[in-house]
């Protein structure tokens, strides 16, 4: 016991730095999270609350829409995260060698779309994808191709959303990667070039490994946010057509706020948490092995 207190005392500075953030986090972030997890075991009504154990989960497992949503969420994430990160890495690598004004110009060009809210971006893309009035079909008709329903066709709806996300995304990622590239010591490259490495080799064997903490952050955050895709779905497809874009978080919204079933909605939240957590663990194994943390 004494050893325990001694350990705490020894670490007191760590706790000092951590405490302000931790306190807020526990009350205003973790609290609601745990509360919602608790709700998933309840039949939660306004005037009556009843413990139902795993009943909410059983109901999910029996709902075909849940499985569709799970599948779509996976497909969306597997489509978006690699493409988006690859785009950002390539762009960052292309930008980085240039002089500062050019760098600044491109970073701004890629980042600026982020200053508009997701609502506006969705509105604009709704217009781009619109079958009778949209830009995309207009371009297709100019080269003599038939119109495509895009968001209205089960075969193209999810892919259209992925495409939009990859085109619009990446700006903040590029900013982060170039910022991290700036902190790589130059002498490491000199050593690599002395050893006869080409630029591509230097990029793959020096830059990428040293970017690992940043990349790990980006992959984890990208996975989390892709798994939680909502606004685009809510504003553009509402999960349709025929559930082709139904994702877990949209289903949560539908269950909680349209059906007023907070127990099952919370159960969905827990399932989503478990899925993302598993992904993050794997990513840490894979990307974080050589980085001490």
């Amino acid at each position: 016991m004494a050893a325990f207190w001694q350990r705490l005392w020894k670490d007191r500075w760590a706790y000092f730095f951590l405490a302000p953030s931790l306190l807020l986090f526990l009350v205003f972030f973790l609290g609601p999270v745990l509360w919602s997890a608790y709700l998933s075991f309840l039949d939660y009504q306004v005037f009556s609350t009843r413990w139902v154990g795993l009943e909410n989960y059983r109901r999910l497992a029996a709902d075909p829409v849940f499985w569709l949503a799970l599948r779509n969420t996976f497909l969306y994430t597997l489509g978006v995260v690699p493409l988006w990160l690859l785009k950002a890495l390539i762009v960052a690598a292309l930008i980085f060698p240039f002089a500062r004004p050019i760098q600044t110009f491109f970073k701004s060009a890629f980042y600026l779309p982020h200053v508009t809210s997701a609502v506006i971006i969705s509105l604009i893309w709704l217009w781009i994808f619109n079958p009778p009035f949209g830009l995309l079909n207009y371009l297709l008709s100019m080269v003599g191709l038939p119109k495509v329903a895009w968001l209205g066709d089960t075969r193209t709806a999810l892919a259209s959303l992925i495409l939009m996300q990859v085109i619009m995304g990446g700006g903040s990622t590029i900013v982060m990667i170039t910022a991290a590239m700036g902190s790589i010591p130059a002498h490491l490259f000199e050593a690599a070039y002395l050893d006869g490495a080409t630029r591509v080799q230097a990029f793959l064997w020096v830059t990428v490994p040293l970017l690992r903490p940043t990349l790990l952050y980006l992959v984890v955050m990208g996975t989390i946010s892709s798994f939680q895709v909502f606004t685009n779905i809510y504003l553009m497809t509402e999960g349709g057509p025929q559930f082709a874009t139904m994702t877990i978080v949209y289903l949560i919204y539908d269950t909680a706020f349209k059906q007023f079933q907070f127990g099952p909605a919370s159960a969905l939240g827990v399932v989503l948490f478990l899925v993302i957590f598993a992904f993050a663990l794997v990513q840490y194994r894979f990307l974080g092995s050589e980085v001490e943390y």
Partner: protein, 304 residues
């Protein structure tokens, strides 16, 4: 089909002329003589940037267009008769100034608080060993994986019990407590060389001194990134401000603009004028923060 073939051929030729090479990461000294590789790189960059910039451009020209022309095809890429009419309609809103102020207070307050709390906690996670470190860190990351749609109700109930509905604290606290910043700062700070901290300790720096005088200056690029991300993210936040505010006076700009969309569905001109107006402060924030990214080189210099 024929036409498609032509386009492919052109692309092929383009590729042959400029051999594809991924530029390395060495900084090219400030000369302006461009290599073919650089020209190709610029071409690719401009193409990709245009693609992601197009919707934003469309937003701005739509805002400047005569309202009748906004849904026409092909779009008028360069408005022949631009007008301020849509902006006039927007600025006719009595509470626009108040909403803007609220957004500035909320997004600005959250950003400052995030910078303060996250750098401290991130530093503890990155450079200190302590009991419960792994557990607490996974708690931070794990809690992000529960979507906001699920935690909305518990959070609102909590705020209601604390009588923080429709207050600036109610608007700000949940985001201040968010773990994103801690995660980002931790990831960044762990790549800072630990030798610097040891050196500081030998020089007789206090624990606070090491953090304030050695770590913080080096963390400036990451703080700039965090600052921009937080500000922009909070500025655009919609759902929480909508749910937590109960009076027109406490609304943020995004909520106010959404109301505009409801009042006039399909009023593209006015909606895009609103979006353009809302984007301006963020462009300013981005441009003023971003010069800090470029100071990152000092880390390498110290170590080398």
């Amino acid at each position: 089909m024929e036409r498609r073939g032509v386009i492919e051929q052109q692309e092929d030729q383009g590729r042959k002329r400029t051999p594809w090479r991924l530029p390395g990461t060495l900084r090219i000294p400030g000369r302006f003589a461009a290599t073919p590789g650089q020209v190709a790189a610029i071409a690719v960059l401009i193409g990709a940037a245009l693609l992601s910039f197009l919707p934003l451009y469309w937003m701005v020209i739509t805002a400047l267009q005569q309202p009748t022309l906004t849904v026409q095809l092909p779009p008028e890429w360069f408005p022949k008769a631009p007008t301020w009419q849509n902006f006039a309609e927007l600025f006719g809103r009595p509470l626009l100034g108040r909403w803007t102020l609220n957004s500035l207070i909320v997004a600005g307050g959250i950003t400052l608080a995030q910078l303060f709390f996250s750098t401290m906690a991130g530093y503890a996670f990155a450079k200190k060993r302590f009991l419960g470190r792994g557990f607490l860190f996974w708690l931070y990351i794990g809690s992000m994986m529960v979507p906001a749609q699920v935690t909305l109700i518990p959070l609102y109930i909590l705020m209601s019990r604390l009588h923080l509905i429709s207050t600036y604290w109610g608007l700000m606290l949940p985001s201040i407590a968010g773990p994103f910043g801690v995660f980002l700062m931790k990831q960044f700070m762990q790549s800072l060389p630990s030798e610097l901290i040891d050196a500081g300790r030998i020089d007789g720096c206090s624990e606070w001194g090491i953090y304030a005088r050695i770590i913080l200056p080096l963390a400036k690029p990451a703080m700039a990134v965090l600052g921009i991300f937080t500000f922009v993210g909070e500025w655009n936040e919609f759902l929480w401000p909508l749910v937590i505010t109960n009076t027109s006076e406490m609304r943020t700009l995004q909520v106010g603009l959404a109301l505009l969309q409801d009042e006039m569905p399909m009023a593209w001109g006015v909606i895009m004028a609103g979006a353009t107006y809302a984007a301006i402060p963020m462009v300013i924030v981005f441009l003023s923060f971003q010069r800090y990214f470029l100071k990152g080189l000092t880390v390498g210099a110290l170590k080398g």
